[in-house]
Symmetry: C2
DNA sequence: AAGTTCTCCTAGAACGTTCTAGATATGGTG
DNA sequence: CACCATATCTAGAACGTTCTAGGAGAACTT
């Protein structure tokens, strides 16, 4: 049932319209609306009034085409990742503070990182901030010759990279578990996900330092894989030899782990503890109530914005903070 | 240390560069690269070769500025909503099929819908597809005089709107529960969220039709509110008078409901059933295992794309499908 | 009185495309 | 041979901005 709606274009007002309406030249109107120097208070008022009356909004295509100052940033991330959503929100706030706009590009089943990057660049952004789990560093470096590219959550050689001190985060988890008396830990690793290698290595190092038996099983960043992998582990490992705590790659994987634990009929945390990572909404679900690690989203966002604005943006590493909830505790004898 | 700005000069090649390299005019180069008529096979080959050699990519700002055909669509949605992520993914696929690019704008704590819309429009998109829970229809209609605006999930007067038949979805849930023998239902409504009113009305209508006792409590689209509200309900309602099934506004709210149910010590589905809506990843979490309603994301996306491309886009309503899982069942006597 | 320096303003050239109108060559037709 | 149609190409004007160069006065110097 085709239902007629919008009629044909009511052309949007241009700078020339504003200039005509306020009786000044286009150039002067431009000066006023850019808040640049060189206009009298009187013309300022007149032009602004006319702009407001007409509902004028500058055309960012024309603006950026001419000035290469679009005051627009590209943000590339994955939809459906709670952490990415938090980062985006924080970056929006930063952008506001700096007078920038942000447009997003999402990676997903039907869009690879390269493609998303191209779309953003073609749209004329001044810089791109993004989470690039897979794109080779060489390609990123290549692109960064054209415009600043800032990597979030992953250390990329040749690019300003804003990351969390994964070793510190994992160490907080391992120490917490050690303190609770755990002596045999299992890590479900994140596969090719961003930061997976760092967390795995940190896990082994922290465990060794604390003189704790540690094992790593290859999994992935999703709950389904974590579930399958941990179920297999329970099937193949006699109860007496099982780890007493599972350190999952992230909250989502921890949820999958929790599922396998429930299936095995083990009590949390009485018989086994489980930890997540990211302190996302998943970790707060009552049933899961995951002990997790909170990344400093605000600091990451602020540093990313800074890196995007400054000439040769700087990398930095940010401290995470463990958040203890009900999924970890002492073993009940 | 702030001195390293020797990066800049990697200017990207322009159409003029391609033309020069292949010995033709800019106009002809444009014709070739647009696959337009009026170029010989020989020039076609030469120009394309030169473009490839130089790594030329058309500047979409200049292109859209001149032609008002940017072949770019704006998509406005909320980050962190699983359903929105699914829609975005489906729309990316549709865009591919139609040779369009998509740029995203996210609404959130720091960006209202109006602002997001403006950013996308200023970036020069040809049309905007979006989920607009709050923006008044009048404002949307106003904007749609400038360019096509398509509303997803919410029926907006004056705009092509692609929605799900909420009455049908809710009716499937209510019928399912009735068939299981439930005679007293409770609906946690979605407050001001998109489709909340439709689901509430449909709930009451379906219950009345099936001669089932029905009650609605005001809640919201989030799990925290649903939890609080349902906990209050349990506290104030004697066990004998309680509903035996809770129809939550969406999966997220159902999770909160489930939390309150656990707290009250009730067995699911033995003592009480609970349903979600959207068939999102939340519904698949093992502990929740929610009976839910799947919206036809692919059809919605396809219709939205169609509406964005055609002159006066058409509205349509799509059929949902119940997905039965373990959170609903007969009462155990 | 003639410079000099401000302040405020404007014309017109960019930016990288597409599009309109026309030029040039080629070939077919009467 | 003149004429027109077609196929291929190109110059130059848009699109809506910003930016560069400079102009007209008024207000200081000297």
């Amino acid at each position: 049932m085709p239902e007629a709606s919008a009629q044909r274009p009511a052309k949007r007002p241009t700078l020339a319209d504003v200039a005509r309406a306020s009786g000044v030249s286009v150039a002067l109107a431009s000066i006023v609306l850019r808040e640049a120097e060189g206009a009298s208070e009187e013309s300022r008022a007149r032009v602004k009034q006319a702009a407001a009356d007409l509902g004028y909004r500058p055309d960012s295509r024309a603006r950026s085409l001419r000035s290469s100052r679009s005051r627009t940033l590209g943000l590339a991330l994955a939809l459906g990742e709670p952490l990415h959503a938090e980062l985006a929100d924080a970056l929006y706030a930063e952008a506001d503070a700096n007078g920038f706009e942000i447009i997003l590009g999402a990676t997903g089943k039907h869009r690879d990182e390269r493609r998303v990057l191209n779309t953003l660049i073609d749209a004329g952004v001044e810089a791109v901030i993004g989470v690039f789990p897979k794109l080779p560093a060489s390609q990123l470096a290549q692109i960064s010759k054209q415009l600043p590219v800032i990597s979030l959550l992953r250390k990329v050689k040749g690019l300003p990279s804003l990351i969390t001190d994964e070793a510190a985060g994992i160490d907080q988890l391992v120490s917490h578990l050690a303190q609770l008396g755990h002596t045999r830990l299992l890590h479900l690793d994140g596969g090719s996900a961003v930061a997976a290698k760092q967390r795995r290595d940190a896990f082994l190092a922290s465990a060794a330092k604390a003189d704790i038996e540690a094992r790593v099983i290859a999994a992935g960043p999703d709950d389904a894989t974590a579930f399958e992998v941990l179920r297999g582990y329970f099937e193949q490992t006699p109860p007496a030899e099982r780890a007493t705590a599972v350190v999952a790659f992230n909250d989502r994987a921890a949820l999958g782990a929790r599922q396998a634990i429930d299936l095995a009929g083990l009590a949390v945390p009485g018989q086994i503890s489980v930890t997540g990572y990211d302190d996302s909404e998943f970790s707060r679900l009552a049933h899961a109530d995951l002990t997790s690690v909170r990344q400093d989203v605000a600091a990451l966002a602020q540093a990313a914005m800074q890196a995007a604005l400054e000439a040769p943006g700087a990398s930095s590493t940010h401290a995470p903070q463990i958040v203890v909830r009900g999924s970890t505790g002492r073993l009940m004898a």
